[in-house]
Subunit: 345 residues, 2 copies
Amino acid sequence: MKLTILFGGASFEHEISIVSAITLKQKLSGFELSFIFCDQDHTFYLIEPSKMKAVTFSKGEHKKMAKLSLSHGAFVQKGLFSSVEHGGVFLNLIHGADGEDGTIAALLDFFSIKYIGPRIDASVFSYDKRYTKWLCDARGIKSLKYEELSLKEHNNIKTPYPVIVKPSRLGSSIGVSIVKEEGELDYALDSAFEFDSSVIVEPFINGVKEYNLAGFSADGKFYFSIVEEPHKEEFLDFEKKYMDFSRSEQVLKAEVSKELETKLRVNFEKVYKDLFEGALIRCDFFVIEGEVYLNEINPIPGSMANYLFEDFKGSIELLSNSLPHAKRARVNYDYIHSISKAKGK
Amino acid sequence: MKLTILFGGASFEHEISIVSAITLKQKLSGFELSFIFCDQDHTFYLIEPSKMKAVTFSKGEHKKMAKLSLSHGAFVQKGLFSSVEHGGVFLNLIHGADGEDGTIAALLDFFSIKYIGPRIDASVFSYDKRYTKWLCDARGIKSLKYEELSLKEHNNIKTPYPVIVKPSRLGSSIGVSIVKEEGELDYALDSAFEFDSSVIVEPFINGVKEYNLAGFSADGKFYFSIVEEPHKEEFLDFEKKYMDFSRSEQVLKAEVSKELETKLRVNFEKVYKDLFEGALIRCDFFVIEGEVYLNEINPIPGSMANYLFEDFKGSIELLSNSLPHAKRARVNYDYIHSISKAKGK
């Protein structure tokens, strides 16, 4: 199949998006792949597949390649006398800002471009950790208690130590710290507020069981990945996570009971249904005293969590044949006509 | 001041957006106004101010005017040998889909265009009535109990009659019905599901006190309109509301106690803060037994609720000087450089 991977973006996760795209080039070999890069100034470039290497971007060599602009149904490469259209199905692989905050979704929807990725609403509820909590509360999904701090008011916290401090709106562990005692709080808050004006504080539970589950729905049916128990480190810092985005080897299935797997799937469906259609997402869960808690939603997981799927290529193909399309209102000017008539004009 | 009004959109409220724009042309006379029309196919046109009449659009005469495309910081009119930029501050006056669902916000943000209007997050929480309820619950704002029906499952409702049935994602009373008894329910649901796959049902309280309050924040301070008690009809149907969007005469202040006005303002601030910055919104409230309930948020009220402000032009000017701008991450390729070095490349 034909697929265009859209990556880059003006985001703190710009570089990991590049790594992710390079990994997918390998994992989706056999597909007819194209690559469109969004640079930090929001200019789009068509990248030759043979140039899909990290140095192309760090050295700025992409600037010599063809510039593209958005048009109805396609990205367009304008020539002096004619233009070339790059259409078909896209995969939004822009991690963090732009890609996961609803911006790219809106652009592609507005220009009627078909894509794999979260829609605007889904982006808002997964990008901002506060809104993920609201989603949990509304849909009966358990999540850890939290408090919100703003840059202006953050003297005391009520959560007992140890706590974890996170910017509300970033992914990939950027600006995240574990704080074991009060003396370490200020530094952690400074780091977090460097990236966002809103910060959330949650209890940090040492040794908590963590499980990741990816999946999507197509033709009204859910398709799940295997359950993964991620590496047991306190948490992945940015550099480790960065390497993590280039993962391409199938991981081992976590040893979980059938009962727990079902619980994880039920919670995944609660998150996904009527919101994430069109996206392949990864939900990261905690299990505390047998109960499943949602930790976070990755609406565009690193390298699309390819390593969790037994048939990754088949999954992408299934999903791309079941993409939602925005229903657009048609205008017939009935009201204006009837009012003009009433006025005798 | 210079201001460009963006109106139209592929929305059921396309026509009322035209009426709204024509009204603002009159209310903001003295400003240096430009008008950009988004047609139902998402093509942008620069409309000559003298052609700002309903018939221009119903007769398709806008198609003879200059086409514009989005570019960094401006809409651009491309000529054969040169192009003209239309920049400055914009006012998003696209009611309903496109304008109020986050799409236009994302487009303008992506292209670094300054605008008055709700940002992506704010749009999502006001456009979908279910998410407005979640916002209320999270921020301690009272709202009516509701139940959600989906197209697939809607046999019984639990809310006692009379009820009001609304599509989850439309404004301007489109598809809304009051249902007095079970026998009327099916027809009401059919009407609502014609516009949306999700419908909400709320108790209908005959004769409930309604108050509207508009406002915005600028330089960290709130500015409020007068409180209005809207017309006492069961509710405004689309045709009446359509006429309503052309309102330009200052209305009379509702007779409310200082105490109630303060309560309304406190609730308005709870809705607005850290979400609606950059927008002038109107909140529609119910008052039941002395308690304030949020009914709905209009993030782009009809003709910007000009008739509620004593100094409407001054308000628009204040707000346009206090617009948030998206902080954009800068990329330095540190990680790629360090990894390339480690690999010895």
